[in-house]
């Protein structure tokens, strides 16, 4: 079992990716970051993880999901994740620019664990990341990594 905090980031903007990476680094989070720029690829990836032998090692501890994705949008990705028996336990934090009430409601209804608005200033990004890690790694009891029975 790895000590790394495996984060799956589904985000299409390269700059936002860079910002998050930097934030994670500066926050001193011991992490492993998987970045997927596309919604359908993300689902594919997760499906593969689910079906692989190394599920326990591969499965992310946290999914950071942006809603503004090309092709399949964030909502659909979320739905895809949360409808899968084995994948739905993975905590999903919707991290997006929009704060629209409709979006918020919809995401929670679909099963998002948390909805967070992307901070507009970098320092806050750092705080956010640190908080997320703290919460999902230390505070909350994470879901057990159990490989789905084949």
């Amino acid at each position: 079992m790895s000590e790394e905090f495996h984060i799956l980031l589904v985000e299409d903007s390269p700059t936002d990716v860079k910002i998050l990476e930097r934030a994670l680094r500066e926050a001193g989070v011991h992490h492993r970051l998987t970045v997927i720029h596309d919604g359908s690829h993300a689902l594919e990836f997760l499906a593969n993880v689910r079906d692989s032998e190394t599920f326990d090692q591969e499965v992310p501890d946290l999914i950071l999901l942006d809603l503004n994705l090309p092709g399949l949008d964030g909502g659909q990705v979320l739905a895809g994740i949360k409808s899968d028996v084995y994948l739905r336990s993975i905590p999903v934090v919707v991290l997006t620019t929009s704060r629209r009430e409709d979006d918020v409601a919809m995401m929670y209804a679909t099963g998002a664990n948390t909805f967070i608005e992307k901070p507009s200033e970098y320092p806050r990004y750092c705080d956010l990341v640190a908080t997320l890690e703290l919460y999902w790694r230390e505070v909350a009891v994470p879901p057990p990594r159990r490989r789905p029975k084949s």
Binding site: T15, R22, N68, T97, S98, S120, E121
Partner: protein, 682 residues
């Protein structure tokens, strides 16, 4: 020979006494002539003449005596005949008595005399019972007596006058009221039984009374006058007086008076009055007069009522004819039986053009076939309400709304209709225009809503989409500084600084835009919001700022409740209070929030007062405009959207926002919001 003698000569000769005296005188004369002749020894011719004259004279005397005797017999026979007739009618007194002893006695004596006479009258000559006249007188006297008492005798006949002696016979005589009055005292002398019965007094009592006594006091003077006149004239007819009899009954009598004089016109002996009870007649005539008066009155009333009716008729006629509605009536076959003037003038027809025509004539030709069916329905229902088209005389078609009810005959069949039509063309046109306008408004509204939504969408999307590059800008500018700051010279750093600041500004602008677009969106879920709580949140949020600047926020206790969106209201007051603290150079900045009396019913007014820099009155409206700032960036930061957002929030709540302020004297921002609606819970 005796007839002409009776007729002409006897009257000339006079009474019987006179006649015999004449005869005797003639006889004496002739005897004297004869004696003279014998004495003087005349010639033979003279002697013969004288003897002839004497013979003639004796014949004359004889015939006179015979005729007298005959006439007496004749009269006696006449009397006898009449008396017989009376008695025959009455029956013999011996078998039928009147009940009156005196009368019966008289009648008995009369009967004796009559039977004697009767027997005698069968003879050619009458045995003189006594001296002719006295017999007659005696007989008559008895008879009169008897007949007066019995009421059979009508003493209009003169006691002396042998001429028109009329003894009235039969029923009339029994019921007539006749009397004889003393001409001076007017006391009764004789009175018929009928009169005595009528008056209620006996003849004895009447003899002590004057005729005037029974007469009504008011009529007495008149009566006296009239009777006096009668006395003078000899008669009077139709005198009518009110009288009262012994029983106290008031009656009215009509009196015919005749004056009777004595024999040989020797002065007035009595007044003979024939009385008729005209009470009924008088009453009848009085009644008639009364009725006539009544009738006249009734007539007048009728005329007056008639006049009123006429007026009423005219009034109602006018109301009907000129009413501001089209009245008409249809008969049982659907023909127009009448219509008012308004209808005629509205449609442009003359009365004769419409009356009697079928209602269908008013409809446009293509609508006419329907009429039969509709009319049948109306006949069944008894009423109808229909909108349709009519055609005017000039061919113009108008919309009408027709209502009609049926008037039924007693047997339940339709007599006629009461119908009214209203020209609704104008209304229709108006309605059509209205609908059209409504529709256009609807379309415009929809368009507007769409545009607004689009705009909101746009601003939202744009803001969000802008945020990302903005984030990149700000973040990487920071990275640039932190990572490569040492490799930049001061100018380079300055440039980067500009970039950073600009990005920040852009971000704020975008955030404000976003806030603004959010501000207008008041949630549909309005409810009762406690301002105490709202201001509590604001105070808490500004806690840090308050501590760092040494400011004070004073919230009045027990702020009212309002109706609205809690989040938006928090935003509103946050903006206002923070503004009050921001635009403030006072050593002890203070913002107070309290309620003030509201001028509008159903509204709550809150004032956010600060001791800040104030606002020049000329800018009072400008401060609420979006992005319009009154100060430079160096003086105060901010995009100038705060108050615009507040305004939008308040407007979305249906309230009001305004400011009272003077430069350097602080500001008062007034917020007016609705009170919670009844019956709704928070």
């Amino acid at each position: 020979m005796d007839k002409p003698f009776d007729k002409y000569l006897r009257p000339a000769i006079g009474t019987t006494h006179q006649r015999y005296a004449l005869l005797v005188g003639q006889g004496v004369c002739w005897i004297a002539v004869v004696v003279t002749a014998i004495e003087t020894n005349p010639s033979r011719h003279a002697t013969y003449l004288a003897c002839l004259a004497v013979f003639g004279q004796c014949l004359f005397a004889l015939s006179l005596w015979l005729s007298d005797r005959r006439s007496q017999a004749e009269q006696a026979r006449q009397i006898a005949g009449r008396v017989n007739a009376i008695l025959d009618k009455r029956g013999t007194p011996t078998t039928r008595s009147t009940g009156n002893l005196f009368l019966d006695e008289s009648l008995a004596r009369a009967e004796q005399t009559i039977s004697a006479l009767r027997v005698s009258s069968s003879n050619r000559y009458i045995e003189p019972i006594g001296f002719g006249d006295s017999v007659e007188i005696d007989l008559r006297g008895h008879l009169q007596n008897a007949m007066t008492k019995s009421g059979m005798y009508d003493p209009t006949s003169a006691l002396d006058g042998l001429a028109d002696d009329s003894i009235v016979v039969g029923e009339k005589s029994t019921s007539d009221m006749v009397n004889r009055l003393d001409p001076r005292t007017l006391h009764w002398i004789e009175s018929s039984p009928a009169e005595q019965l009528f008056l209620g007094w006996s003849l004895k009592q009447l003899r002590d009374k004057s005729f005037l006594e029974i007469i009504h006091p008011d009529d007495r003077d008149l009566a006296r006058e009239q009777l006096r006149t009668a006395l003078a004239k000899g008669e009077a007819h139709g005198l009518i007086y009110r009288v009262k009899n012994s029983r106290g009954e008031s009656k009215a009598i009509q009196v015919n008076v005749g004056v009777r004089t004595g024999p040989n016109r020797s002065g007035v002996t009595h007044l003979r009055c024939h009385i008729t009870d005209v009470t009924a007649k008088v009453r009848a005539s009085r009644e008639l007069r009364r009725r006539t008066r009544e009738l006249t009155l009734v007539n007048q009333q009728l005329r007056a009522a008639n006049r009123e009716l006429e007026e009423l008729k005219d009034r109602y006629s006018d109301l009907y004819q000129n009413a501001p509605a089209l009245y008409f009536s249809l008969d049982a076959e659907g023909r127009i039986s009448e219509c008012n003037n308004t209808l005629l003038s509205s449609l442009g027809y003359r009365r004769d053009e419409l009356i009697g025509k079928s209602y269908a004539e008013l409809l446009p030709p293509d609508h006419r076939p329907n009429f039969r069916e509709r009319f049948a329905e109306y006949r069944k229902e008894g009423q109808v309400e229909v909108e349709g088209l009519w055609i005017k005389a000039n061919g113009e078609v108008i919309n009408v709304f027709v209502t009609g009810t049926a008037v039924l005959k007693p047997d339940g069949t339709i007599l006629r209709s009461r119908s009214v039509a209203q020209d609704v063309t104008a209304r229709h046109a108006l309605e059509a225009a209205f609908r059209d306008k409504n529709q256009r408004l609807g379309v415009a509204n929809a368009e507007l809503s769409r545009k607004i939504k689009e705009l909101d969408e746009f601003s939202h999307v744009v803001s969000h989409d802008l945020k990302e590059p903005l984030r990149t800008l700000t973040s990487f500018s920071d990275f640039l500084i932190s990572d490569y700051g040492d490799r930049l010279d001061s100018v380079g750093k300055e440039y980067v600084q500009y970039i950073v600041e600009a990005s920040r500004r852009m971000r704020t602008l975008i955030e404000d835009l976003l806030e603004l677009s959010r501000a207008g969106k008041v949630t549909a879920d309005l409810r009762c919001v406690k301002l105490d709580k709202v201001l509590g949140v604001v105070k808490a949020d500004l806690g840090e700022l308050v501590r760092s600047t040494g400011a004070e926020i004073e919230i009045e206790v027990a702020l009212p409740e309002v109706w609205g969106d809690r989040d938006r209201l928090v935003q509103l007051f946050m903006n206002l209070v923070s503004n009050g603290l921001k635009y403030n150079r006072d050593k002890a900045p203070k913002v107070s929030v309290r309620e003030v009396p509201s001028t509008l019913a159903g509204m709550v007014t809150i004032v956010v007062q600060d001791n800040g820099i104030g606002i020049d009155p000329q800018f009072h409206s400008r401060v609420f405009q979006l992005f319009r700032r009154l100060h430079t960036r160096e003086e105060y930061e901010g995009t100038g959207a705060g108050l615009a957002i507040c305004q939008k929030i308040v407007q979305a709540h249906g309230g009001n926002l305004w400011v009272e302020s003077e430069l350097n004297h602080g500001s008062k921002f007034f917020v007016q919001l609705s009170r919670p609606q009844d019956g709704r819970e928070s």
